[in-house]
Symmetry: C2
Protein backbone atom coordinates (compact mmCIF):
# COMPACT_ATOMS: atom_id res chain seq x y z
CA UNK A 1 0.00 0.00 0.00
CA UNK A 2 3.08 2.24 0.14
CA UNK A 3 4.19 4.78 -2.44
CA UNK A 4 2.57 7.49 -4.49
CA UNK A 5 1.25 5.04 -7.11
CA UNK A 6 0.23 2.21 -4.78
CA UNK A 7 -1.36 -0.20 -4.90
CA UNK A 8 -1.53 -0.29 -8.74
CA UNK A 9 2.23 0.15 -9.34
CA UNK A 10 3.07 -2.39 -6.62
CA UNK A 11 0.77 -5.07 -8.01
CA UNK A 12 2.05 -4.51 -11.55
CA UNK A 13 5.65 -4.56 -10.31
CA UNK A 14 5.06 -7.85 -8.48
CA UNK A 15 3.65 -9.41 -11.64
CA UNK A 16 6.75 -8.25 -13.54
CA UNK A 17 9.01 -9.65 -10.82
CA UNK A 18 7.57 -13.17 -10.67
CA UNK A 19 8.47 -13.56 -14.32
CA UNK A 20 12.15 -13.11 -13.38
CA UNK A 21 12.27 -14.84 -10.00
CA UNK A 22 12.99 -18.55 -9.50
CA UNK A 23 9.98 -20.90 -9.72
CA UNK A 24 10.14 -21.59 -5.97
CA UNK A 25 10.09 -17.86 -5.00
CA UNK A 26 6.85 -16.42 -3.65
CA UNK A 27 5.63 -12.85 -3.38
CA UNK A 28 3.30 -11.85 -0.56
CA UNK A 29 1.36 -8.68 -1.32
CA UNK A 30 0.47 -7.06 2.01
CA UNK A 31 -2.54 -4.76 2.10
CA UNK A 32 -6.27 -4.48 1.53
CA UNK A 33 -7.21 -7.87 0.10
CA UNK A 34 -10.22 -6.91 -2.01
CA UNK A 35 -8.39 -4.07 -3.76
CA UNK A 36 -5.28 -6.16 -4.42
CA UNK A 37 -7.34 -9.13 -5.60
CA UNK A 38 -9.17 -6.91 -8.07
CA UNK A 39 -5.89 -5.45 -9.35
CA UNK A 40 -4.38 -8.91 -9.85
CA UNK A 41 -7.42 -9.95 -11.89
CA UNK A 42 -7.44 -6.67 -13.80
CA UNK A 43 -3.83 -7.27 -14.79
CA UNK A 44 -4.59 -10.84 -15.85
CA UNK A 45 -2.56 -12.59 -13.15
CA UNK A 46 -3.64 -16.20 -12.64
CA UNK A 47 -0.49 -17.77 -11.17
CA UNK A 48 0.21 -19.12 -7.69
CA UNK A 49 3.51 -17.33 -6.92
CA UNK A 50 1.71 -14.24 -5.70
CA UNK A 51 -0.55 -14.37 -2.67
CA UNK A 52 -2.15 -11.74 -0.46
CA UNK A 53 -1.74 -11.06 3.26
CA UNK A 54 -4.53 -8.80 4.41
CA UNK A 55 -3.65 -5.59 6.24
CA UNK A 56 -6.51 -3.17 6.84
CA UNK A 57 -4.56 0.03 7.53
CA UNK A 58 -2.19 2.30 5.60
CA UNK A 59 0.54 4.58 7.01
CA UNK A 60 0.44 7.73 4.89
CA UNK A 61 3.60 9.43 3.61
CA UNK A 62 3.29 12.44 5.94
CA UNK A 63 2.62 10.56 9.18
CA UNK A 64 4.99 10.56 12.13
CA UNK A 65 6.76 7.17 11.92
CA UNK A 66 6.82 6.10 15.58
CA UNK A 67 3.31 7.33 16.29
CA UNK A 68 1.84 5.79 13.13
CA UNK A 69 3.48 2.40 13.74
CA UNK A 70 2.27 2.18 17.35
CA UNK A 71 -1.27 3.22 16.43
CA UNK A 72 -1.70 1.37 13.14
CA UNK A 73 -0.78 -2.17 14.14
CA UNK A 74 -2.63 -3.56 11.13
CA UNK A 75 -0.89 -1.31 8.59
CA UNK A 76 0.94 -2.95 5.70
CA UNK A 77 4.31 -1.84 7.14
CA UNK A 78 3.54 -3.21 10.64
CA UNK A 79 2.22 -6.49 9.22
CA UNK A 80 5.20 -6.77 6.85
CA UNK A 81 7.73 -6.43 9.64
CA UNK A 82 5.67 -8.90 11.69
CA UNK A 83 6.05 -11.47 8.89
CA UNK A 84 9.79 -10.71 8.65
CA UNK A 85 10.26 -11.12 12.39
CA UNK A 86 8.39 -14.44 12.44
CA UNK A 87 10.44 -15.53 9.41
CA UNK A 88 7.27 -15.99 7.40
CA UNK A 89 8.93 -13.63 4.92
CA UNK A 90 12.61 -13.65 3.96
CA UNK A 91 12.60 -10.01 2.86
CA UNK A 92 10.27 -7.03 3.20
CA UNK A 93 10.06 -4.24 0.61
CA UNK A 94 7.97 -1.08 0.64
CA UNK A 95 7.82 2.20 -1.24
CA UNK A 96 5.94 3.69 1.70
CA UNK A 97 6.87 6.06 4.54
CA UNK A 98 10.69 5.90 4.82
CA UNK A 99 10.74 6.82 8.49
CA UNK A 100 8.17 4.15 9.31
CA UNK A 101 10.21 1.58 7.37
CA UNK A 102 13.30 2.46 9.41
CA UNK A 103 11.55 2.67 12.77
CA UNK A 104 9.65 -0.54 12.00
CA UNK A 105 12.93 -2.37 11.37
CA UNK A 106 14.41 -1.14 14.67
CA UNK A 107 11.32 -2.11 16.67
CA UNK A 108 10.61 -5.49 15.07
CA UNK A 109 13.63 -7.41 13.77
CA UNK A 110 15.97 -4.93 15.51
CA UNK A 111 19.63 -4.13 14.90
CA UNK A 112 22.06 -7.03 14.81
CA UNK A 113 23.88 -7.34 18.14
CA UNK A 114 27.14 -5.43 17.86
CA UNK A 115 25.94 -3.19 15.03
CA UNK A 116 26.06 0.32 16.51
CA UNK A 117 23.79 1.92 13.92
CA UNK A 118 21.96 0.22 11.06
CA UNK A 119 22.28 2.24 7.89
CA UNK A 120 20.27 3.03 4.78
CA UNK A 121 22.45 2.52 1.72
CA UNK A 122 22.04 3.70 -1.83
CA UNK A 123 23.78 3.10 -5.12
CA UNK A 124 25.84 5.30 -7.41
CA UNK A 125 26.46 4.48 -11.07
CA UNK A 126 30.11 4.10 -12.00
CA UNK A 127 31.61 5.44 -15.23
CA UNK A 128 33.35 2.12 -15.84
CA UNK A 129 30.11 0.17 -15.44
CA UNK A 130 28.17 -1.25 -12.55
CA UNK A 131 27.30 0.46 -9.30
CA UNK A 132 29.02 1.48 -6.12
CA UNK A 133 27.31 1.63 -2.74
CA UNK A 134 27.12 4.74 -0.56
CA UNK A 135 26.16 4.69 3.11
CA UNK A 136 24.66 6.20 5.18
CA UNK A 137 22.15 8.22 3.14
CA UNK A 138 19.89 9.49 5.88
CA UNK A 139 19.28 7.12 8.79
CA UNK A 140 22.01 8.69 10.95
CA UNK A 141 22.70 12.41 10.47
CA UNK A 142 25.61 12.49 12.92
CA UNK A 143 27.95 9.51 13.08
CA UNK A 144 30.77 8.68 15.47
CA UNK A 145 34.06 7.44 13.98
CA UNK A 146 33.35 3.85 15.06
CA UNK A 147 29.99 4.01 13.28
CA UNK A 148 31.67 5.14 10.05
CA UNK A 149 34.10 2.25 10.45
CA UNK A 150 31.20 -0.21 10.65
CA UNK A 151 29.61 1.39 7.57
CA UNK A 152 32.80 0.40 5.77
CA UNK A 153 32.27 -3.19 6.85
CA UNK A 154 28.53 -3.27 6.11
CA UNK A 155 29.08 -1.74 2.69
CA UNK A 156 31.94 -4.10 1.85
CA UNK A 157 29.86 -7.17 2.67
CA UNK A 158 26.95 -5.87 0.59
CA UNK A 159 29.23 -4.94 -2.32
CA UNK A 160 30.88 -8.36 -2.28
CA UNK A 161 27.83 -10.60 -1.95
CA UNK A 162 25.03 -8.61 -3.58
CA UNK A 163 26.85 -6.39 -6.10
CA UNK A 164 29.39 -9.18 -6.85
CA UNK A 165 32.41 -6.86 -6.44
CA UNK A 166 35.52 -8.78 -5.51
CA UNK A 167 37.60 -7.19 -2.71
CA UNK A 168 35.59 -3.93 -2.78
CA UNK A 169 37.55 -0.72 -2.29
CA UNK A 170 36.32 1.41 0.63
CA UNK A 171 36.71 5.21 0.46
CA UNK A 172 35.98 7.79 3.15
CA UNK A 173 34.17 10.82 1.70
CA UNK A 174 36.23 13.86 2.60
CA UNK A 175 37.32 17.33 1.49
CA UNK A 176 40.83 16.27 0.53
CA UNK A 177 42.77 13.12 -0.20
CA UNK A 178 45.53 13.39 2.40
CA UNK A 179 45.22 11.62 5.75
CA UNK A 180 44.52 14.24 8.41
CA UNK A 181 42.15 16.24 6.22
CA UNK A 182 38.53 16.73 7.13
CA UNK A 183 36.24 17.09 10.11
CA UNK A 184 37.05 15.93 13.61
CA UNK A 185 34.94 12.84 12.89
CA UNK A 186 36.48 11.91 9.52
CA UNK A 187 39.97 12.55 10.92
CA UNK A 188 39.21 10.04 13.68
CA UNK A 189 37.48 7.57 11.36
CA UNK A 190 40.44 7.39 8.93
CA UNK A 191 42.88 5.48 11.19
CA UNK A 192 40.09 3.14 12.32
CA UNK A 193 39.18 2.26 8.73
CA UNK A 194 42.87 1.95 7.86
CA UNK A 195 43.49 -0.47 10.74
CA UNK A 196 40.43 -2.61 9.99
CA UNK A 197 41.75 -5.80 8.37
CA UNK A 198 38.36 -7.03 7.18
CA UNK A 199 38.03 -4.27 4.59
CA UNK A 200 40.11 -2.86 1.73
CA UNK A 201 40.37 0.80 2.73
CA UNK A 202 41.87 3.03 0.04
CA UNK A 203 41.78 6.32 1.99
CA UNK A 204 39.89 9.56 1.54
CA UNK A 205 37.93 10.28 -1.61
CA UNK A 206 36.47 13.62 -2.71
CA UNK A 207 33.15 14.76 -4.17
CA UNK A 208 34.61 14.41 -7.67
CA UNK A 209 35.32 10.70 -7.07
CA UNK A 210 31.72 9.58 -6.64
CA UNK A 211 31.44 8.15 -10.16
CA UNK A 212 35.00 7.06 -10.91
CA UNK A 213 36.57 3.74 -9.90
CA UNK A 214 38.50 4.91 -6.83
CA UNK A 215 36.04 3.39 -4.38
CA UNK A 216 33.25 0.81 -4.59
CA UNK A 217 32.03 1.53 -1.06
CA UNK A 218 31.64 5.19 -0.12
CA UNK A 219 31.46 5.87 3.61
CA UNK A 220 29.93 9.04 5.05
CA UNK A 221 27.44 10.21 7.66
CA UNK A 222 23.76 10.28 6.74
CA UNK A 223 23.64 14.07 6.45
CA UNK A 224 26.38 14.10 3.82
CA UNK A 225 25.13 10.99 2.00
CA UNK A 226 21.60 12.36 1.81
CA UNK A 227 22.82 15.64 0.28
CA UNK A 228 25.04 13.79 -2.23
CA UNK A 229 22.20 11.47 -3.25
CA UNK A 230 19.64 14.23 -3.72
CA UNK A 231 22.15 16.41 -5.60
CA UNK A 232 22.91 13.52 -7.97
CA UNK A 233 19.18 12.89 -8.45
CA UNK A 234 18.63 16.56 -9.27
CA UNK A 235 21.29 16.36 -11.99
CA UNK A 236 19.46 13.45 -13.55
CA UNK A 237 16.18 15.35 -13.33
CA UNK A 238 17.68 18.45 -14.98
CA UNK A 239 19.15 16.34 -17.80
CA UNK A 240 15.81 14.55 -18.26
CA UNK A 241 13.90 17.84 -18.40
CA UNK A 242 16.34 19.09 -21.01
CA UNK A 243 15.83 15.90 -23.01
CA UNK A 244 19.52 14.98 -22.71
CA UNK A 245 19.84 11.19 -22.92
CA UNK A 246 22.97 9.19 -22.21
CA UNK A 247 23.45 5.56 -21.13
CA UNK A 248 25.57 6.59 -18.12
CA UNK A 249 23.15 9.19 -16.83
CA UNK A 250 20.24 6.79 -17.43
CA UNK A 251 21.75 4.68 -14.66
CA UNK A 252 20.94 7.52 -12.24
CA UNK A 253 17.28 6.65 -12.73
CA UNK A 254 16.15 5.30 -9.36
CA UNK A 255 14.09 2.67 -11.19
CA UNK A 256 17.22 0.79 -12.24
CA UNK A 257 18.21 -0.16 -8.68
CA UNK A 258 14.77 -0.29 -7.17
CA UNK A 259 15.38 0.62 -3.57
CA UNK A 260 17.64 1.41 -0.64
CA UNK A 261 18.42 -1.52 1.65
CA UNK A 262 18.58 -1.17 5.44
CA UNK A 263 21.88 -2.76 6.42
CA UNK A 264 22.69 -4.18 9.84
CA UNK A 265 19.27 -5.48 10.93
CA UNK A 266 18.10 -9.04 11.63
CA UNK A 267 16.41 -9.49 8.28
CA UNK A 268 16.25 -8.08 4.79
CA UNK A 269 14.36 -4.83 4.24
CA UNK A 270 14.41 -2.50 1.26
CA UNK A 271 12.89 0.99 1.08
CA UNK A 272 11.60 2.06 -2.33
CA UNK A 273 11.36 5.56 -3.72
CA UNK A 274 7.99 7.20 -3.03
CA UNK A 275 7.34 7.61 -6.75
CA UNK A 276 8.13 3.94 -7.49
CA UNK A 277 6.86 2.70 -10.86
CA UNK A 278 6.07 -0.97 -11.61
CA UNK A 279 9.59 -1.32 -13.03
CA UNK A 280 11.13 0.12 -9.83
CA UNK A 281 9.02 -2.23 -7.66
CA UNK A 282 10.12 -5.17 -9.83
CA UNK A 283 13.81 -4.26 -9.45
CA UNK A 284 13.39 -3.75 -5.70
CA UNK A 285 11.97 -7.27 -5.40
CA UNK A 286 14.83 -8.72 -7.47
CA UNK A 287 17.33 -6.86 -5.27
CA UNK A 288 15.65 -8.29 -2.15
CA UNK A 289 15.81 -11.76 -3.69
CA UNK A 290 19.57 -11.33 -4.20
CA UNK A 291 19.93 -10.20 -0.58
CA UNK A 292 18.12 -13.37 0.56
CA UNK A 293 20.02 -15.76 -1.73
CA UNK A 294 23.37 -14.27 -0.70
CA UNK A 295 22.42 -14.66 2.96
CA UNK A 296 23.50 -11.06 3.50
CA UNK A 297 21.84 -10.46 6.87
CA UNK A 298 23.60 -13.48 8.40
CA UNK A 299 26.92 -12.29 6.97
CA UNK A 300 26.53 -8.94 8.74
CA UNK A 301 26.44 -10.84 12.04
CA UNK A 302 30.17 -11.51 11.73
CA UNK A 303 30.92 -7.81 12.22
CA UNK A 304 32.28 -7.24 15.70
CA UNK A 305 31.79 -3.89 17.37
CA UNK B 1 53.13 33.19 -10.50
CA UNK B 2 50.32 30.99 -9.18
CA UNK B 3 48.41 28.31 -11.04
CA UNK B 4 49.24 25.46 -13.38
CA UNK B 5 49.55 27.74 -16.42
CA UNK B 6 51.27 30.70 -14.74
CA UNK B 7 52.70 33.08 -15.55
CA UNK B 8 51.54 32.94 -19.22
CA UNK B 9 47.82 32.50 -18.46
CA UNK B 10 47.93 35.21 -15.76
CA UNK B 11 49.58 37.79 -18.02
CA UNK B 12 47.17 37.03 -20.87
CA UNK B 13 44.22 37.20 -18.45
CA UNK B 14 45.38 40.58 -17.14
CA UNK B 15 45.59 41.95 -20.68
CA UNK B 16 42.04 40.70 -21.33
CA UNK B 17 40.84 42.28 -18.07
CA UNK B 18 42.22 45.79 -18.66
CA UNK B 19 40.10 45.98 -21.79
CA UNK B 20 36.99 45.62 -19.61
CA UNK B 21 38.01 47.55 -16.51
CA UNK B 22 37.47 51.29 -16.00
CA UNK B 23 40.20 53.58 -17.39
CA UNK B 24 41.33 54.50 -13.86
CA UNK B 25 41.76 50.86 -12.76
CA UNK B 26 45.28 49.46 -12.52
CA UNK B 27 46.56 45.89 -12.48
CA UNK B 28 49.73 45.02 -10.57
CA UNK B 29 51.31 41.79 -11.76
CA UNK B 30 53.31 40.36 -8.87
CA UNK B 31 56.18 38.04 -9.70
CA UNK B 32 59.49 37.67 -11.49
CA UNK B 33 59.86 40.96 -13.35
CA UNK B 34 61.95 39.85 -16.33
CA UNK B 35 59.64 36.93 -17.16
CA UNK B 36 56.48 39.03 -16.81
CA UNK B 37 58.00 41.91 -18.82
CA UNK B 38 58.88 39.51 -21.62
CA UNK B 39 55.38 38.04 -21.61
CA UNK B 40 53.74 41.47 -21.75
CA UNK B 41 55.89 42.35 -24.77
CA UNK B 42 55.28 38.96 -26.39
CA UNK B 43 51.53 39.56 -26.09
CA UNK B 44 51.86 43.04 -27.57
CA UNK B 45 50.85 44.96 -24.44
CA UNK B 46 52.02 48.58 -24.57
CA UNK B 47 49.56 50.29 -22.20
CA UNK B 48 50.08 51.83 -18.77
CA UNK B 49 47.27 50.14 -16.80
CA UNK B 50 49.41 47.08 -16.07
CA UNK B 51 52.59 47.38 -14.02
CA UNK B 52 54.87 44.85 -12.38
CA UNK B 53 55.76 44.40 -8.70
CA UNK B 54 58.79 42.16 -8.44
CA UNK B 55 58.66 39.08 -6.22
CA UNK B 56 61.55 36.66 -6.53
CA UNK B 57 59.99 33.54 -5.01
CA UNK B 58 57.12 31.19 -5.85
CA UNK B 59 55.08 29.03 -3.48
CA UNK B 60 54.48 25.76 -5.29
CA UNK B 61 51.07 24.02 -5.29
CA UNK B 62 52.21 21.14 -3.06
CA UNK B 63 53.94 23.21 -0.37
CA UNK B 64 52.74 23.41 3.22
CA UNK B 65 50.95 26.80 3.44
CA UNK B 66 52.16 28.09 6.82
CA UNK B 67 55.71 26.84 6.34
CA UNK B 68 55.99 28.19 2.80
CA UNK B 69 54.63 31.62 3.74
CA UNK B 70 57.01 32.05 6.68
CA UNK B 71 60.02 30.91 4.65
CA UNK B 72 59.26 32.55 1.30
CA UNK B 73 58.71 36.16 2.35
CA UNK B 74 59.40 37.35 -1.19
CA UNK B 75 56.92 34.98 -2.82
CA UNK B 76 54.17 36.47 -5.00
CA UNK B 77 51.52 35.48 -2.42
CA UNK B 78 53.44 37.04 0.51
CA UNK B 79 54.16 40.23 -1.49
CA UNK B 80 50.55 40.39 -2.68
CA UNK B 81 49.14 40.24 0.83
CA UNK B 82 51.73 42.82 1.88
CA UNK B 83 50.39 45.22 -0.76
CA UNK B 84 46.81 44.48 0.35
CA UNK B 85 47.66 45.11 4.01
CA UNK B 86 49.42 48.42 3.20
CA UNK B 87 46.42 49.34 1.02
CA UNK B 88 48.69 49.65 -1.99
CA UNK B 89 46.31 47.19 -3.60
CA UNK B 90 42.52 47.17 -3.24
CA UNK B 91 42.19 43.49 -4.06
CA UNK B 92 44.52 40.51 -4.35
CA UNK B 93 43.86 37.57 -6.71
CA UNK B 94 45.86 34.39 -7.21
CA UNK B 95 45.38 30.99 -8.81
CA UNK B 96 48.17 29.66 -6.62
CA UNK B 97 48.30 27.47 -3.51
CA UNK B 98 44.80 27.69 -1.94
CA UNK B 99 46.03 26.99 1.58
CA UNK B 100 48.71 29.68 1.30
CA UNK B 101 46.10 32.15 0.03
CA UNK B 102 43.91 31.42 3.07
CA UNK B 103 46.72 31.39 5.63
CA UNK B 104 48.20 34.53 4.05
CA UNK B 105 44.89 36.35 4.50
CA UNK B 106 44.64 35.35 8.15
CA UNK B 107 48.24 36.38 8.90
CA UNK B 108 48.32 39.66 6.96
CA UNK B 109 45.01 41.54 6.68
CA UNK B 110 43.43 39.20 9.26
CA UNK B 111 39.80 38.40 10.01
CA UNK B 112 37.45 41.32 10.59
CA UNK B 113 36.88 41.83 14.31
CA UNK B 114 33.76 39.94 15.29
CA UNK B 115 33.92 37.53 12.35
CA UNK B 116 34.34 34.12 13.98
CA UNK B 117 35.61 32.34 10.87
CA UNK B 118 36.32 33.86 7.47
CA UNK B 119 34.96 31.65 4.73
CA UNK B 120 35.78 30.66 1.17
CA UNK B 121 32.67 31.01 -0.96
CA UNK B 122 31.85 29.61 -4.37
CA UNK B 123 29.06 30.06 -6.89
CA UNK B 124 26.37 27.73 -8.20
CA UNK B 125 24.51 28.35 -11.46
CA UNK B 126 20.77 28.71 -11.10
CA UNK B 127 18.27 27.20 -13.54
CA UNK B 128 16.40 30.49 -13.71
CA UNK B 129 19.55 32.44 -14.59
CA UNK B 130 22.35 34.00 -12.61
CA UNK B 131 24.30 32.46 -9.77
CA UNK B 132 23.79 31.66 -6.13
CA UNK B 133 26.55 31.69 -3.53
CA UNK B 134 27.53 28.70 -1.36
CA UNK B 135 29.68 28.96 1.74
CA UNK B 136 31.82 27.57 3.24
CA UNK B 137 33.51 25.40 0.59
CA UNK B 138 36.59 24.27 2.45
CA UNK B 139 38.13 26.79 4.83
CA UNK B 140 36.32 25.39 7.89
CA UNK B 141 35.56 21.66 7.90
CA UNK B 142 33.66 21.74 11.19
CA UNK B 143 31.49 24.77 11.98
CA UNK B 144 29.67 25.76 15.13
CA UNK B 145 26.05 26.96 14.81
CA UNK B 146 27.06 30.60 15.36
CA UNK B 147 29.59 30.30 12.53
CA UNK B 148 26.90 28.99 10.16
CA UNK B 149 24.73 31.92 11.21
CA UNK B 150 27.51 34.36 10.24
CA UNK B 151 27.95 32.58 6.90
CA UNK B 152 24.32 33.48 6.24
CA UNK B 153 25.17 37.13 6.87
CA UNK B 154 28.43 37.13 4.88
CA UNK B 155 26.75 35.39 1.96
CA UNK B 156 23.75 37.73 2.02
CA UNK B 157 25.95 40.82 1.89
CA UNK B 158 27.98 39.38 -0.98
CA UNK B 159 24.84 38.30 -2.87
CA UNK B 160 23.27 41.72 -2.47
CA UNK B 161 26.23 43.95 -3.33
CA UNK B 162 28.31 41.84 -5.71
CA UNK B 163 25.76 39.50 -7.32
CA UNK B 164 23.09 42.25 -7.31
CA UNK B 165 20.43 40.00 -5.77
CA UNK B 166 17.80 42.00 -3.92
CA UNK B 167 16.83 40.61 -0.49
CA UNK B 168 18.72 37.33 -1.06
CA UNK B 169 17.09 34.16 0.27
CA UNK B 170 19.26 32.20 2.71
CA UNK B 171 18.88 28.40 2.92
CA UNK B 172 20.52 25.99 5.34
CA UNK B 173 21.76 22.85 3.53
CA UNK B 174 20.17 19.90 5.27
CA UNK B 175 18.80 16.38 4.81
CA UNK B 176 15.16 17.41 5.06
CA UNK B 177 13.05 20.53 4.86
CA UNK B 178 11.37 20.46 8.25
CA UNK B 179 12.80 22.42 11.18
CA UNK B 180 14.37 19.95 13.59
CA UNK B 181 15.88 17.80 10.83
CA UNK B 182 19.60 17.33 10.48
CA UNK B 183 22.76 17.10 12.50
CA UNK B 184 23.19 18.49 16.00
CA UNK B 185 24.89 21.52 14.41
CA UNK B 186 22.29 22.24 11.73
CA UNK B 187 19.50 21.74 14.28
CA UNK B 188 21.14 24.40 16.46
CA UNK B 189 21.92 26.71 13.53
CA UNK B 190 18.32 26.76 12.27
CA UNK B 191 16.79 28.84 15.12
CA UNK B 192 19.77 31.21 15.07
CA UNK B 193 19.39 31.87 11.33
CA UNK B 194 15.62 32.17 11.79
CA UNK B 195 16.01 34.76 14.56
CA UNK B 196 18.59 36.82 12.66
CA UNK B 197 16.76 39.90 11.42
CA UNK B 198 19.53 41.03 9.05
CA UNK B 199 18.96 38.12 6.67
CA UNK B 200 16.04 36.57 4.78
CA UNK B 201 16.18 32.99 6.04
CA UNK B 202 13.86 30.61 4.16
CA UNK B 203 14.66 27.45 6.16
CA UNK B 204 16.31 24.16 5.28
CA UNK B 205 17.08 23.23 1.71
CA UNK B 206 18.09 19.82 0.36
CA UNK B 207 20.72 18.57 -2.07
CA UNK B 208 18.16 18.73 -4.86
CA UNK B 209 17.65 22.47 -4.28
CA UNK B 210 21.16 23.57 -5.21
CA UNK B 211 20.20 24.79 -8.69
CA UNK B 212 16.59 25.88 -8.21
CA UNK B 213 15.43 29.26 -6.93
CA UNK B 214 14.68 28.30 -3.32
CA UNK B 215 17.82 29.93 -1.95
CA UNK B 216 20.34 32.47 -3.27
CA UNK B 217 22.72 31.93 -0.34
CA UNK B 218 23.45 28.34 0.62
CA UNK B 219 24.91 27.87 4.10
CA UNK B 220 26.86 24.78 5.11
CA UNK B 221 30.11 23.74 6.77
CA UNK B 222 33.26 23.58 4.65
CA UNK B 223 33.30 19.78 4.56
CA UNK B 224 29.83 19.62 3.03
CA UNK B 225 30.35 22.61 0.71
CA UNK B 226 33.60 21.19 -0.60
CA UNK B 227 31.97 17.84 -1.42
CA UNK B 228 29.00 19.57 -3.10
CA UNK B 229 31.29 21.79 -5.18
CA UNK B 230 33.56 18.98 -6.35
CA UNK B 231 30.59 16.73 -7.11
CA UNK B 232 29.02 19.47 -9.25
CA UNK B 233 32.36 20.03 -11.01
CA UNK B 234 32.63 16.32 -11.76
CA UNK B 235 29.19 16.39 -13.40
CA UNK B 236 30.33 19.19 -15.65
CA UNK B 237 33.51 17.26 -16.46
CA UNK B 238 31.56 14.09 -17.32
CA UNK B 239 29.19 16.05 -19.57
CA UNK B 240 32.15 17.76 -21.27
CA UNK B 241 33.93 14.46 -21.86
CA UNK B 242 30.76 13.08 -23.39
CA UNK B 243 30.51 16.14 -25.64
CA UNK B 244 27.14 17.12 -24.14
CA UNK B 245 26.72 20.89 -24.45
CA UNK B 246 24.00 22.95 -22.83
CA UNK B 247 23.88 26.64 -21.86
CA UNK B 248 22.94 25.83 -18.25
CA UNK B 249 25.68 23.28 -17.72
CA UNK B 250 28.20 25.60 -19.42
CA UNK B 251 27.71 27.89 -16.43
CA UNK B 252 29.34 25.19 -14.28
CA UNK B 253 32.60 25.99 -16.05
CA UNK B 254 34.82 27.52 -13.36
CA UNK B 255 36.07 30.02 -15.97
CA UNK B 256 32.76 31.87 -15.96
CA UNK B 257 33.05 33.02 -12.34
CA UNK B 258 36.80 33.22 -12.13
CA UNK B 259 37.47 32.53 -8.49
CA UNK B 260 36.36 31.92 -4.93
CA UNK B 261 36.40 35.00 -2.67
CA UNK B 262 37.55 34.88 0.95
CA UNK B 263 34.77 36.54 2.92
CA UNK B 264 35.19 38.20 6.32
CA UNK B 265 38.75 39.51 6.08
CA UNK B 266 40.05 43.10 6.13
CA UNK B 267 40.49 43.33 2.38
CA UNK B 268 39.45 41.71 -0.87
CA UNK B 269 41.05 38.42 -1.83
CA UNK B 270 40.02 35.91 -4.47
CA UNK B 271 41.41 32.41 -4.97
CA UNK B 272 41.45 31.12 -8.54
CA UNK B 273 41.25 27.54 -9.74
CA UNK B 274 44.66 25.92 -10.14
CA UNK B 275 43.98 25.27 -13.83
CA UNK B 276 42.95 28.91 -14.47
CA UNK B 277 42.98 29.93 -18.13
CA UNK B 278 43.41 33.55 -19.33
CA UNK B 279 39.62 33.85 -19.46
CA UNK B 280 39.29 32.62 -15.86
CA UNK B 281 41.98 35.06 -14.69
CA UNK B 282 40.19 37.89 -16.50
CA UNK B 283 36.87 37.03 -14.83
CA UNK B 284 38.56 36.74 -11.43
CA UNK B 285 39.96 40.27 -11.84
CA UNK B 286 36.55 41.61 -12.89
CA UNK B 287 34.98 39.92 -9.85
CA UNK B 288 37.61 41.51 -7.59
CA UNK B 289 36.90 44.89 -9.18
CA UNK B 290 33.21 44.46 -8.35
CA UNK B 291 34.14 43.56 -4.76
CA UNK B 292 36.18 46.77 -4.50
CA UNK B 293 33.59 49.05 -6.14
CA UNK B 294 30.81 47.65 -3.92
CA UNK B 295 32.94 48.23 -0.85
CA UNK B 296 32.16 44.69 0.24
CA UNK B 297 34.88 44.26 2.86
CA UNK B 298 33.73 47.40 4.73
CA UNK B 299 30.12 46.16 4.62
CA UNK B 300 31.14 42.90 6.33
CA UNK B 301 32.34 45.00 9.29
CA UNK B 302 28.72 45.70 10.24
CA UNK B 303 28.23 42.05 11.17
CA UNK B 304 28.15 41.68 14.95
CA UNK B 305 29.23 38.43 16.54
Amino acid sequence: MGGDFAPEAVVKGAILAVQQLNPEDKILLIGQEDIIQALLQENGYTGTAISIVHASQVIEMGEHPTKALSQKTDSSIAVGYGLLKMQKADAFCSAGNTGAMLVGAMFSVKAIEGILRPSIASFVPKLNGGYGIILDVGANADCKPEVLEQFGELGSIYAKYVLDIDNPKVGLMNLGEEEGKGTVVTQAAYPRLKANTSIHFIGNIEGRDLFNDKADVIVCDGYTGNIILKLAESFYDILSEKGIKDPFFDKFNYEAVGGSPILGINGNAVIGHGVSSPNAICNMVLQAQKMVSSNISERFKKIIA
